[in-house]
């Protein structure tokens, strides 16, 4: 009997279930999108109950599409959008507030307050992260501060906190009826509440952010059996959970120190494996947990996070209506030879790595009557590429090494022109593996390891194959000039939002 591992990828815009076979080949896919709520400028929310409903639909559908029976699924692994904050009632299982998404900037004022005189690096030694609206901890503080009676209920253990994997595992294992309340080290490392070296909730951090310990999940490994499902595919072990970017690192089999990947999705994230060592960045990168298998020591990573890449294309489609599908950005960009002098810096939620400037906002510069929508489309793709260049430069500076090639994955790697542009601006080959869905593959790998479906990491490496490669083809002088233009465009995004009352409530 053929057996499979199911990966559940709970992403920013959709929830997908993918079945993989023992060679790591994709067997079937099922997907459901969920609604994005933007109640105010800078606010982004999800309905966690809608996401859970989607999970109960896509998992059985993926099994059915594979022509398989539930018994053929040996384990479920979860990869999830990180830092998105869910709070729910332990007794009813209902979310008590809308889930606050990682792109949400409502905590900008709070984060500044927390930084105080010591600045954004106040907690960096403890948790590996700078204070920024990106992370879950301050978001939790904000919700506790702004929802009547919530802190008291949380202290009594009536309201539970979790990021998406915690919410899904709790529901899969029974919800109000005995649901398991756990998170994994990679997701916990994005809260600003976990000690990056101790891998436990840090009392100093909890105290500083006013978070009651009673509401927090237990921190576990990324690859171990947390429990059995009770609702969807009943009896199947839930055997892995990783933040989506860490899952992609795992799916790209970047198991050795020095190996790196960049995933192009809603945002883009470059992660470099640094082994058992926590490297503190001097260049705006994050120190984060890469993965932890069972009782082995945790592996760490340096991360360059870019907030807006795929979502810039989405905005081009839905906000401006200049294209009707995301893939058309390439077709439109190919109608012109270059950007026509135009640059777009999508600091929609401030700038992430390596700048970390939450007060920055997006700009389009270099506009003349010559610029057409084709040039704008080029500028969109180039914005993705130059943002990658910035984090690669930071990575090179922190590691003291120069990246020699970049492993890429994610939806946007289907964009041939974009991948060529990334190779051009980085001046290194860009390599795409045979499985574009590395986030899901990583979750499947981690789950399969936990239940013995795959014996070890070395076996997984043999599944990695190159499906495509783009070589740099831009002359050095032009690259330097374009980088200079880009940097000057970035400078124009800074100091835009002024702190005011609207930031506080």
């Amino acid at each position: 009997m053929q057996r499979y591992v199911a990966a559940l990828d709970q992403g920013t815009t959709s929830t997908r279930c993918i079945l993989f076979d023992s060679s790591g080949r994709l067997v079937s896919v099922s997907q459901a999108e969920h609604q994005q709520h933007y109640p105010r400028p800078g606010w982004v929310e999800h309905d966690a109950a809608e996401i859970w409903r989607n999970v109960t639909r896509v998992v059985p559908e993926a099994v059915e599409r594979a022509g398989a029976t539930p018994e053929q699924v040996v384990a479920i692994g979860i990869a999830n959008q990180r830092e998105t904050t869910v709070l729910w009632d332990r007794a009813t299982g209902r979310p008590v507030v809308p889930a606050v998404v990682w792109q949400d900037t409502r905590t900008a004022g709070l984060v500044q307050e927390l930084a105080g005189d010591e600045g954004p690096d106040r907690f960096r030694d403890r948790c590996g992260l700078p204070l920024a609206p990106y992370f879950a901890g301050p978001r939790l503080t904000w919700l506790l501060d702004h929802t009547r009676g919530l802190r008291e209920r949380a202290e009594r253990g009536e309201v539970l906190f979790g990021t998406m994997e915690t919410w899904l595992i709790w529901n899969l294992t029974g919800g109000p009826d005995g649901g398991v309340h756990v998170t994994d080290v990679t997701n916990a490392s994005r809260t600003m509440l976990m000690g990056i070296d101790t891998l436990e909730w840090d009392p100093t951090l909890l105290d500083a952010m006013g978070v009651p310990a009673a509401m927090l999940p237990q921190i576990r490994s990324s690859s171990e059996v947390y429990g059995q499902t009770r609702t969807v595919l009943p009896g199947t072990p839930i055997a892995a959970a990783l933040g989506d970017q860490q899952a992609a690192l795992f799916g790209q089999t970047c198991f050795a120190p020095g190996e790196a990947k960049c995933t192009y999705g809603t945002g883009s994230f470059l992660l470099l494996n640094t082994g058992t060592e926590t490297v503190r960045s001097g260049n705006g990168l994050l120190t984060t947990v890469g993965y932890r298998i069972g009782q082995e020591p945790a592996r760490y990573a340096l991360e360059g996070s870019i907030a807006i890449t795929g979502s810039l294309v989405q905005w081009f489609r839905d906000g401006l209506g200049l294209i009707s599908t995301a893939a058309e950005i390439e077709t439109l960009a190919m109608t012109v030879q270059d950007n026509g002098g135009c640059y777009i810096v999508p600091a929609f939620a401030g700038l992430f790595a390596p700048h970390w400037r939450s007060e920055a906002r997006g700009v389009i510069v270099g506009l003349t009557s010559y610029v057409t929508r084709g040039h704008l489309a080029r500028a969109v793709l180039e914005a993705v590429a130059w943002q990658t260049r910035e984090v690669v430069d930071a990575m090179d500076a922190d590691s003291g090494l120069r990246l020699t090639s970049l492993r890429v994955d994610g939806g946007m790697t289907a964009d041939h022109l974009l991948m060529q542009t990334v190779a051009d601006v980085l001046d290194v080959p860009v390599v795409r593996p045979m499985v574009r869905e590395t986030v899901s593959l990583g979750a499947a790998y981690a789950a399969g390891l936990a239940v013995g479906y795959w014996p070890d990491l070395e076996g997984l490496r043999h599944n990695w194959h190159r499906a495509g490669q783009w070589l740099p083809a831009m002359d050095e002088q032009r690259r330097a000039q374009e980088y200079d233009n880009w940097s000057r465009a970035v400078a124009r995004t800074l100091d835009w939002v002024r702190p005011g009352p609207s930031e506080q409530d």
Binding site: S23, R25, A327, E328, A414, H416, E437, R466, G468
Partner: protein, 253 residues
Amino acid sequence: MPGSVQSIERAAAVLRLLAGGTGRLGCVEVANSLGLAKGTAHGILRTLQAVGFVEQDRASGKYLLGPGLVQLTVPHLDPNELRSLALNWTDSLAARAGETVRLGVLEAGTVLVASHAFRPDDSEQVLEVGARRPAHACALGKVLLAFDAGALACLQRRPLPAYTPRTCTEPRELAAALATVRRTGWAVDAEELEMGTAGIAAPVQDRGGLTVAAVGIAGPVERLCDASHAPRPALLALVQDAARAISRELAAS
């Protein structure tokens, strides 16, 4: 002579109705204007919406003519869109078959490579996205020509070049080969473009059976074919599975 198809006549009437007046009508208005049951009108409108000839205004729920009608003369599927939709399945095919995978569309009588996945042996290979291949000499092209009578007629206006002694250049011979492709639903080329290599391809079809692309594998002739140059059944099945999966993806998009 067979009689006319009533549902097509009604669909045409709906389109004419939407083209006149304010250009925006609700389902009940359409039903009343044409003397149709509401359910029938709704079914026709939803079908026309699915093929892009009609769209529904989000705010009012009313129907109007869709962009698909205006763009009837331009290819309705963007090759970049096609690559994106097909990528999981072209990758999966390469991984399973262990061979190079190409996804092609017909453009100006030649095959435009819309997507390309490397043979999974990690050897040095060059991406061929955007490259062109002669339609009459490769399996992808034969599939595309077999299901597009107009393109074949254009192609046969001038002499077809031979790339190897096995290239099919005789119009009559080619027509017979394409008839076989239509009957079997797949095409093979054994050393017709390059000595030593072969290809196997199957059609990717959109709603209504319109062939919009072909997907196939290519590799050494001895790996892909048996001694009589017939494709190996296991590989052929993988190609057909991938073609069906991509077709399903298109229908769902």
